[in-house]
């Protein structure tokens, strides 16, 4: 499979795959930071997954690039209830993260 050339295309491919393998994944926020235009800045995803455990905190984990997704990736999972809480307490987001600046992907009806 050809690697996507842009970070946007890689992020989109990764997110679509997440919806296909995670039945409880409701929505994904692609977090946009000031370094988004740089190739070194990671793809950052906040995933709202009913199958994860609520912990009351946001824990992003960083992963290496691969041949197919040639960008660093940072992924954090939260429950739908934790998302609700975040909307009233956005200060709980990691430094620089913002839901209002994020690109939101909802679960495709077919998956």
């Amino acid at each position: 499979m050809n690697a996507p050339r842009t970070k946007d295309a890689a992020a989109s491919r990764l997110i679509q795959w997440h919806f296909s393998v995670e039945p409880e994944l409701r929505e994904v926020y692609r977090i946009v930071l000031d370094d988004e235009g740089s190739q070194e800045g990671p793809i950052r995803l906040l995933e709202v997954n009913a199958a994860t455990v609520p912990t009351g905190s946001i824990e992003p984990f960083g992963f290496s690039p691969t041949e197919e997704i040639p960008f660093r990736t940072v992924i954090a999972e939260i429950t739908p209830e934790e998302l609700e809480s975040l909307q009233s307490h956005p200060e709980a987001l990691p430094e620089g993260w913002s839901l209002s600046r994020a690109e939101r992907f909802v679960r495709p009806k077919s998956s």
Binding site: A51, T52, V53, P60, T73
Partner: protein, 174 residues
């Protein structure tokens, strides 16, 4: 100058690998009570989660070092990492199937740490706990909720953990 984020990440990954190796040795010896292998398994899990957590460069390092990092949340993120996308290419259904049990078992492993859920799940791998008028020693307990570790789904989780430890790369210096 304090140690860097990269140095901490490498050290956590290295210690996780060592804990994982000790887990393997203890698990192979049926004479040793299960609590000891599970203690090392829990420590390997917690430390590899911390190592990957250190790769999020927006996180405050002091917070990373002092706060608990959830292994169950780590496994959820690792399951959909680019590395797993390559590893399971063409086998999405298999990944979907294994993920459910892997998440559940990861949460049970996380709870083996005494401080994680003392009220709801006191059965940890280190210290005795109270059940009614009795006090249970970990070395006399059989951990029925973790018996699935030896099932196909459980082995999937152990393979995921081994893979996470093996393929860890330190973060690039900021």
């Amino acid at each position: 100058m304090p140690a860097s984020r990269e140095a901490w990440a490498v050290a956590f990954a290295t210690q996780s690998q060592s804990d994982w190796q000790v887990y393997g040795r203890l698990a192979a010896d049926p004479q040793i009570p299960a609590c000891h292998e599970l203690h090392y398994l829990q420590m390997a899990c917690e430390k590899i989660a911390k190592a990957y957590r250190c790769r999020d460069t927006t996180a405050n390092l002091d917070d990373l070092l002092t706060r608990h990092v959830g292994f169950a949340k780590f496994i959820g993120s690792f399951l959909v990492s680019p590395s797993m996308k390559e590893a399971y290419r063409g086998r999405d259904a298999q990944l979907r199937e294994g993920a459910k049990l892997a998440r559940a078992l990861a949460r049970e492993i996380e709870k083996l740490a005494p401080a994680v859920d003392r009220a709801g799940s006191p059965e940890n791998a280190e210290y005795p706990w109270e059940v009614g008028e009795k006090v249970i020693s970990p070395c006399e307990y059989s951990y029925p909720r973790l018996s699935l570790l030896m099932s196909a789904g459980g082995r999937t989780l152990l393979k995921l953990l081994a893979r996470a430890i093996q393929e860890f790369e330190p973060p690039s210096p900021a």
